[in-house]
Symmetry: C2
């Protein structure tokens, strides 16, 4: 694939992604300075992902804020496909979602797509369930408000939402599914039905929904936005994050099935150190001499990119690293050490919360205030 070509679908990201062109291609809007300021003003503080432009695109986020400024609430929706253990790329949307919940005091719905993973990959229910159990613990460890968060597995919750699924599916036709997602004759009828279920939680409350997710999920929201008003609901809003480059280099995505490419959420300090040292793709010079002379290419250096987009809060320090590393004063080994330290800190805190997540899982799935309300309720449209 030539460098300027790239492909983004809900199942695949390939090539070097040009985020400006993606905004045009998907018909979304750029998160500009004005919007950023407005988010920060309403939230009461800034967030790393925002200030570093990791959240780069949106749909109707301005309307969410407009509503909010007028005293009108919204709710958050995101999800996880339990196809394996989670890596650091999988947890990003959850951390930004948690931050929004905390700053705006709103409900969060988290869909565990244990039906879709069977349709999409033919995974057995047993394997999916094992993954889902792990994934839910990771998500609970993020720190959501256990009384304002509902985590549900589709196969378990379908009894409460089938009525809505029937109505939504009635408004999406095969041609749309085919053109938006590329479904074909060989696609099974479950996968073909799936867009109805992925859209469904945007209708859980009679308010505007806001979805924090990577941009590759946007096609689903496009479909929701085509049909929402037919049900007297608002079109869903979304904020889109960029992709996190694989440890092995900035082309494509991390994958749990390729251990070299990813830092897993349960990696130990030793594993983090070993992986970063061995695999983190460097933009530094090939030799010490060359590096001192030319400096590092930050745009492909994974340690730099991860620190910048995801981990290093301190703006001064970030700036200093950028200058020193790009000028050749700082070495690859040194920036890798910063990444190792930051990753280790982030993950050890996450892992500690996960150790104590049992009660949180119970509350977010069944016993918390929001969960109880959701189990007592039938979703209607």
């Amino acid at each position: 694939m030539p460098e300027e070509e790239f492909e983004v679908t809900p199942w695949d990201v390939e090539g070097n992604v040009d985020y400006h062109r993606l905004i045009e291609k998907f018909g979304t809007e750029k998160v500009d300075e004005e919007l950023k300021n407005r988010i920060v003003e309403n939230a009461g503080e800034n967030h790393l992902y925002l200030k570093r432009d990791f959240i780069f695109s949106h749909r109707d986020m301005d309307k969410v804020l407009e509503d909010y400024e007028e005293g009108e609430d919204f709710f958050l929706y995101t999800g996880i496909g339990p196809s394996g253990k989670m890596h650091i790329g999988h947890i990003i949307s959850f951390y930004i979602t948690k931050w929004i919940q905390q700053q705006f005091d709103v409900n969060v719905y988290i869909q565990v797509t244990d039906d879709e993973k069977h349709w999409d990959r033919g995974m057995s229910f047993e394997e999916i369930e094992e993954n889902a159990e792990h994934n839910i613990r990771e998500i609970a460890a993020v720190g959501f408000d256990p009384d304002k968060t509902f985590i549900f597995r589709n196969r378990e919750y379908m009894g409460n939402m089938y009525d809505a699924a029937v109505k939504i599916a009635g408004k999406i036709n095969n041609s749309t599914a085919q053109s938006v997602f590329g479904f074909e004759g060989s696609t099974n009828i479950g996968m073909n039905f799936w867009p109805a279920i992925q859209c469904l939680p945007t209708f859980f409350e009679d308010k505007r929904c806001l979805i924090p997710a990577a941009i590759d999920q946007d096609p689903y929201w496009r479909i929701q936005r085509d049909i929402a008003e037919k049900f007297g609901h608002e079109k869903t809003a979304a904020i889109h994050s960029k992709f996190i480059p694989a440890l092995t280099g900035p082309e494509g995505k991390m994958s749990s099935s390729k251990p070299k490419t990813a830092i897993m959420l349960d990696d130990s300090a030793e594993e983090i150190e070993e992986k970063v040292k061995k695999y983190a793709f460097s933009g530094g010079g090939d030799t010490l001499e060359e590096h001192r002379k030319e400096g590092a290419d930050l745009s492909v250096d994974v340690s730099y990119l991860w620190l910048h987009s995801l981990l290093l809060e301190d703006d001064e320090r970030m700036k200093e690293i950028a200058e020193k590393y790009s000028s050749g004063e700082m070495l690859t080994g040194e920036i890798k050490q910063v990444l190792i330290d930051e990753l280790t800190e982030f993950l050890s805190e996450h892992q500690e919360r996960k150790e104590n997540a049992d009660r949180l899982v119970e509350k977010m799935m069944y016993e918390g205030e929001l969960a109880q309300r959701m189990w007592d309720k039938k979703i209607t449209l």
Copy 2:
């Protein structure tokens, strides 16, 4: 449409149906004398629909009997699409199903397709629910064993069967759905998913399923038979009935939305008399003189066809009517009177049972032995 052409799909029957060609086209088997005798032997008595060849085709009915003779049980499955009030054509499958239940002492599952009617016709849930309530009372009035019969509405029971729906849908692809049912780009993704749900009750028990239904539903069973063994289940068996000609003539089917064409299950004695006298298509001569000379054409005379296939048990009397009417000795007004009498008797008995159906509905849906077991159980595959 030229006389020799006909079209049979689950949504439409047009033209004069050639049942021999239908057996070839659908790849089913003829119910021959040997099979009929074997059914009668096991059942302990004969049934009108069998002896008059109204049940004309089957799949694996011989295997059902083989199992049964060896002490192995089976179960029955049929259903109703709640698109309106029921006419006499809609209740036929239920009467033969009840007879089989009674003679073989087996469980019956009755699916009320309140999801499909929304997808297929865009009917509102309110309208569907009203129809479903009426339809279920009609079905309960047929006389099923209330402890061995489970009537369920898909939208209500989906929580218990979604796991199985997910697995079945994963084994049917868009091409199959398209080629078997003619689904197109404009078909909504709900309808496209529907074959998975219609097949589902054939997996309710780990035994062979037998489906009594009109032949137009057979495409669904073909799909079930393609995938059943992948789940370690038997291919479903089926017995196929012919179509009942419309009151207005032997082309096509009765329709609840065209009152002239059908006798409704809640028609009064007066309505029956009026409709038969006014609309029942006659095969008799145009004038009394011509009739006395040429006699009636039994193959198109609706009174004769209904009496023969559905209503008149007495073989001697049936034979006498055939002879006298075809020779011109009996007049159209006279055979219409026989039909009026038989219909009135059949429907007044049915209506009387319907008056007292509340308790039966409750048992077959929720409180009977089988219903309770089904509500406590998750269908797995």
